[in-house]
Assembly symmetry: C2
């Protein structure tokens, strides 16, 4: 079935586009037998393909679709819907909508990608608002965090949808038969948290999935749960702060190592250990964050992605479509719509964690 999958890659999105997206797409086609549509400035994309010396055989599975415009990293998220209707990201979304591609991958402007996907591809049946998911590494596997920024000012009712999305994502993509789902709060007891989390609790509980109750910030990286549900504001700051902390630690360690020849020798001996650690924590290994709850696949990669990250994102997108995750989410949510969310749980005697 993989041979029939076609993934639209935004050739103009990424800090050093079109170089990285094109190189990543070529790796994906060569490695997995996936077909890719590269969307962007035809001349620049073709030149990039030429410079990579792509064989005629691979070249046949790499279609190029021209896009006159590009949405810059700093432009408003609405740009592809208003001023730049011929932008590469919007055309990617149109290819998915028309069924010419099953999913899109972009390392470009995140907001513009989400808006294009939501408005052009459209929201899946039964879904109120899509959620952006990120897979966070822990010592023994991954924890899926939803939503990491597709929504601002989320409603508590959306947490139920995010739980369903996270459940099927963890089940199908991480191979966890019955994923544990936690609701992010500031205390693990039922009733601990804000008005928002107490209302969300009842909703997540009503899914009938494996809800383990409230989890805390410490559970993001300790493997205590497989899925964590939170609102998009919180998920976004958590994800960005984690990246920033990891960068700081690496930077500090580098500076320390350079202070002494013995440390430098030690670091050399530890290269395999560091490399393996990096592989477990590097976002380029995971590839990209899926926008869940659409009528097609949408994977958003980091602006600083390398070709491997793009290749992995394409691979994830194929697996995602093959697993029929969106259909499963839609079906489950349709069932749930028949189930009203129970009224929120009681407030505990004092609200302090």
């Amino acid at each position: 079935m993989a041979g029939h999958m076609r993934i639209a890659v935004d050739a103009m999105g990424a800090d050093d586009a079109p170089r990285t997206p094109v190189a990543g797409a070529v790796e994906a086609v060569a490695g997995d037998g996936t077909d890719v549509i590269l969307v962007g400035d035809r001349e620049r994309v073709e030149r990039e393909l030429d410079s990579l010396g792509v064989s005629a055989e691979l070249r046949r599975r790499l279609e190029v679709v021209h896009a006159e415009e590009v949405v810059g990293m700093e432009e408003s998220a609405i740009t592809p819907m208003r001023r730049k209707r011929r932008s590469s990201i919007r055309i990617c979304a149109e290819l998915v909508k028309e069924g010419r591609a099953q999913a899109l991958v972009s390392a470009g402007n995140t907001g513009a990608t989400m808006i294009s996907a939501k408005m052009v591809i459209g929201v899946a049946k039964g879904v109120d608002r899509p959620g952006l998911a990120a897979a966070l590494p822990n010592a023994s596997g991954w924890t899926v965090l939803v939503d990491v920024g597709a929504n601002v000012d989320s409603k508590a009712e959306q947490m139920r949808e995010f739980a369903v999305m996270g459940h099927f994502y963890a089940q199908e993509m991480l191979g966890i038969a019955q994923p544990r789902i936690g609701l992010l709060s500031i205390g693990s007891e039922e009733g601990k948290g804000t008005d928002f989390t107490r209302r969300a609790y009842a909703g997540v509980q009503s899914t009938g999935l494996r809800f383990i109750g409230n989890v805390e910030g410490r559970d993001l990286f300790n493997g205590a749960t497989d899925v964590i549900v939170c609102d998009g504001f919180v998920g976004n700051v958590l994800l960005k702060s984690a990246e920033s902390l990891a960068e700081m630690v690496v930077g500090m360690l580098r500076a320390e190592i350079k202070k002494s020849p013995l440390s430098m020798l030690g670091a050399l001996l530890m290269v395999p250990a560091f490399r393996h650690l990096r592989r477990r924590t590097d976002y380029s290994e995971y590839g990209a964050a899926p926008l869940l709850g659409l009528r097609g696949g949408c994977f958003i990669a980091h602006g600083g992605s390398n070709p491997k990250a793009i290749k992995n994102a394409v691979r994830r997108a194929v697996e995602f479509c093959e697993a029929g995750i969106h259909e499963k989410i839609s079906n489950k949510l349709a069932d749930l719509h028949a189930t009203p969310i129970p009224s929120s749980i009681q407030e505990p005697e004092v609200q302090t964690s």
Copy 2:
């Protein structure tokens, strides 16, 4: 002046109390010439002091105040106000209220400590709600995050108070003449964020302090700002997730190192580098989180604190009181109360980060 400072230390709060708080208090008295009141089960505290072989001279500067009760780590935050009025944490707060101590230090139940401090010591003039601050390390210094969990369901108006608290804390304790203050949001442009952050923006701006606008999760550890203001829910999950991420990385690295003798040798050579990195990032070096906006000092240490963390917390508490930070916060807030908060800034065209 340091000689006249007296700090109440909750001898029963900490995972291995009274051992750690007593040992930390002894170190503080020996090192800094601070007087300490140890509050707890007299017999157990005296026995601990005996086992440490404390000299008669030091012993004179270590008063013991008896407390019949202890609030356990898992008990409700309200316990010292209701069931356990003779608990060590409540008596610590009473000593501060009565002026027998200038500040308290506890590594016990965080919620119970905050409630005791707020209700017994009382809130400083001009302050609506106290805020818990944490100092996060970055490559070149520290960033103060307020609030990390003193409040759930914070109001946007409180962000103005937290900004004032963070300003004076960073100025006096970190020695930053004009601390940069950022408001945590999901996009750096003015107007990016939620309804809450847009309302908070106007409030923080109205302080007349050095407000640099919205900051993002990535700015927690990159040194881009000196103070970050956020609501207590977000601050709490951020702080706990950062601790969890750091623990995961250390655990993974340890596991990697053990896989090969060369890595083990490398790690040995890197011990000084690791040790220095740890010193920069270990919470025991910083000591404790201050609860800001009270009529006296309150420093909350980690439950797993070692004696050095308690000693450092006592030292911070002394510096804090000497610097008159609470008076400065009160005066500034009194001035601001004469200034109405301008109406919130405009919503941008699309709400997606």
